[in-house]
């Protein structure tokens, strides 16, 4: 009751808020409001979106996907390629096929203290990354994927990779470290490096940063101040100061925006879609509000060990029974596109032509009848053994948007004679335990995030089903097994010839659509609220933050 009262009062008060111009900060300063505060500052110790958003202003990866979802060089001079001779398939000593790729560091690249970025830094980064005690979570890249690195000179180096993968040019996660600052700390005691790194003990040291901005002040849990990096080699950034404030409560963040204490709220880690839709209706004329659909794939994960869901006819019926177009229109104002497959239509590897499942209650009923769930008692379907078609659906407790969607799904499935019980859990329990140990009985509603052209091996390959034997590794929570899909996923890694590669992607999407290991719902859209005076912000819609191009952001003349 109190929550309802508060929501009503907030809505009324916000609606009544002044309609004049917000009190803009000086235009040489930009204040960004986010709902999270980065917990640490080391670029490779535990990934989180808020940290990535801030660090992308102060660092550059060798490669990244740009806003057009094309792989691009940010710290290197040119992407390696087989036809240019900068990439070459090689046979390793053990007879396996690997690949070597050569990169050249931008010759103007220097750390914030003026020290050049060199291959010394590359080699040191690899040493840290592959050390079993360093605490790196993406250990695989450093210790298994990269088998050797040769430094040709101060700027050019060759990475030897374990497999001749098609994605050989991408080293987005190879986050370079400044050897001149971090080497002594690491070598003193590799086992405690994760706690003693200068990123944690001396965060404002200019030598740690090499982006257009550097971190100049940190008030833990409150804000971060970034100032232009005098040694940045690219286009001069426009703002004298960028302040990133953390305001976790979304209503308070919205109030800060209206009070002019925050200039913009990014889509990467800002306000939920439903709140921005309401905000836009009330205050849209004063801000530039836009929505970027991306690679957050909202879906219903199915446990295929559930006898009812093991039948593909039931899975197809469940999808035919949902009116996703109506949901998108009613709940998301049409801003969140319906997903028909796990691969986004915005992705270069998307291949239309796979089966889709429109809202069709008659067809859903027919499929359920065929699957043996033909007898309706008190509105619920039963099979010949007298078992009810009763399923559970879980999601993250407290996520208002998902909880509403869950209730709509429950109601629509009820129309089809499927009884669905809602059993929600806090995110830490759902993701940290229930899904990982495959303890969900039938269905779970959540999102996968991926990068462009990402092969969904960990989600769809049968070897990625978490079990006690493999220490619950992998993300194939659904328990999907299809040898044909396994083969496609394996081939996609090394069949790089364009035609054959395209055919494999098409096959993957067709197999997915036929088998429906999960139920695709929507591609989530990131909502951005920007002040009208700001230009140059281009959302990416994927894991690489828009701040990787912050030097193009400026106040309108």
């Amino acid at each position: 009751m109190r929550t309802g009262l508060a929501a009503f009062t907030l809505a009324a008060a916000l609606a009544a808020a002044p309609m004049g111009s917000p009190a803009f900060a000086a235009k040489d300063e930009l204040v960004i409001g986010m709902t999270q505060f980065p917990s640490n500052w080391h670029p490779s110790m535990e990934a989180m979106m808020a940290k990535s958003y801030v660090l992308s202003m102060a660092r550059r990866p060798f490669t990244a996907y740009d806003p057009d979802w094309r792989l691009t060089c940010l710290l290197c001079t040119e992407l390696p390629a087989l036809d240019k001779g900068t990439a070459e398939v090689e046979t390793r000593a053990d007879g396996k096929k690997g690949i070597k790729v050569t990169y050249t560091i931008n010759p103007k690249a220097t750390w914030g203290d003026g020290t050049p970025v060199t291959t010394e830094d590359v080699l040191f980064t690899w040493t840290v990354g592959k050390h079993p005690q360093s605490g790196y979570s993406n250990f695989d890249l450093f210790a298994r994927d990269i088998v050797a690195i040769d430094a040709k000179d101060e700027r050019t180096f060759t990475i030897h990779r374990d497999k001749a993968v098609c994605s050989y040019a991408e080293i987005n996660d190879f986050e370079i470290l400044p050897a001149h600052l971090e080497r002594a700390v690491f070598e003193a005691d590799p086992a405690t490096y994760r706690n003693r790194s200068k990123y944690e003990t001396d965060t404002t040291n200019p030598g740690l940063w090499f982006g257009p901005y550097r971190i100049a002040q940190v008030e833990p849990g409150s804000h971060v101040v970034l100032e232009p990096n005098p040694t940045w080699w690219g286009a001069k950034p426009a703002f004298k100061r960028v302040i990133v404030k953390s305001i976790e409560n979304t209503a308070a963040l919205e109030a800060n925006l209206l009070a002019g204490q925050v200039d913009m709220v990014p889509g990467e880690t800002g306000l939920p879609l439903d709140q921005v839709l309401a905000f836009e209706k009330r205050h849209g004329s004063r801000y530039n509000v836009f929505y970027k659909p991306g690679l957050f794939f909202e879906h219903v994960e199915l446990n295929l060990d559930n006898p009812a869901l093991a039948d593909v006819r039931v899975r197809r019926a469940l999808l035919h029974a949902i009116d996703r177009d109506a949901i998108s229109k009613q709940l998301y104002d049409g801003r969140q596109p319906v997903a028909h497959n796990e691969i986004s239509p915005l992705d270069r590897v998307h291949a239309p032509g796979y089966p889709t499942y429109a809202f069709d209650p008659a067809l859903a009923a027919k499929l359920l009848d065929e699957a043996g769930w033909s007898e309706r008692r008190a509105g619920v379907r039963h099979n010949a053994k007298g078992e009810r078609l009763s399923l559970e659906i879980m999601t993250t407790a407290g996520n208002r948007s998902r909880e509403v969607l869950q209730q709509v799904l429950q109601a629509q499935w009820r129309q089809a004679g499927v009884e669905v019980r809602i059993v929600n859990e806090p995110a830490r329990v759902l993701f940290g335990d229930t899904l990982e140990k495959r303890r969900f009985k039938s269905m779970a509603l959540f999102a996968w995030i991926s990068a462009p052209e990402n092969i969904p091996r960990t989600i769809l390959h049968s070897s990625m089903i978490p079990t006690e034997a493999n220490n619950w590794a992998g993300q194939n929570y659904t328990g999907y097994r299809n040898p044909e899909m396994d083969k496609v996923l394996e081939d996609l890694e090394h069949v790089c010839e364009p035609e054959a590669n395209r055919a494999l992607w098409a096959k993957l999407q067709t197999l997915y659509a036929q088998d429906l290991p999960n139920l695709p719902l929507f591609f989530r859209a990131d909502p951005f609220i920007l002040p009208p005076w700001l230009e140059g912000v281009v959302p990416t819609g994927h894991l690489d933050s828009s701040t990787l191009w912050i030097e193009t952001w400026k106040a309108k003349e």
């Binding site: 917990s39 979570s137 305001i247 209206l258 091996r457 619950w472």
Partner: protein, 321 residues
Amino acid sequence: MTRFLASRLLQALVVLLLMSFVITVLMTLMPGDPVDMMLAGNPRATPADAARLKALYGLDKPLLERYGHWLQAALVGDFGFSRLYAQPVLTILLPRLGNTLLLLGAAMALTLAVALPLGVYAARRPYGWADNAINLFCFAGISVPAFWLALLLILLFAVELQWLPASGLGPVGGEGWWERLPYLVLPVASLTLASIGGYTRYVRAAMMGELRQDYVRTARAKGLGEGRVVWRHALRNATIPIVTIVALEFGALFSGALVTETMFAWPGMGKLIYDSIMGNDLNVALVALLFATLTTLAGNLLADATYAGLDPRISFKGDGA
């Protein structure tokens, strides 16, 4: 008095020791492995990676062994590192403790400064229009949810009137206390308005009890001025139960401040405790919760010690037995 203090300190140490063990057990029983949570966003992590990280963080060891190591280190002042923040626990905790103490201290001082005179005034004229008005104000304060009040204050004073900042500790780059003062106004007002009601009711009830006592009648009969009778004699005795409540409340406020800290983006202890529990950051959660326990115990001790100062009839002689 010395024996009393020594005995209470010993009791406090035992309580803290027990609490540290109970918190460790409870945190271990909570679902969700910290390393699995850490790797949840990394599809490339393998079972070998998970095992390596669990060994690195000592999570592969039995509970008692882990607790033993922590206790050994804690006894020499090493409270370990935060798994989430990659920093020593005290480095994270102490600034936040300072922020919370500033917020709660200011709110408590303001609450008492308002509630004491208001409660005394209401007690001296019970059931009159002023008492009824004060009661109405008190019940309104008690009934209003903290987050709702905080939002209203932000909307009125920050969004509508733009007189005060909506959130944060102070202006970016501003270190002087006068620059930070405006940032303290709304969170303190939010906490104060919510707690004035309760304290005023306590003061009113205690004062009404004292004003009916024989010693008050005697003092009046002796010709002492009404001000002296009320403020020097009755209030002194009425303060004893109030001191107990203030002292006990202070410990509970650490977690109670969570809503205010979240609404005003005030990086304090309440928020830290919540985040460390949700993030399965055992070392931080453990020390933060022990601090909250310690504050409650210290409050209790302070209340007992203050009794003696306020009421000479109370003595701690022989209490150590």
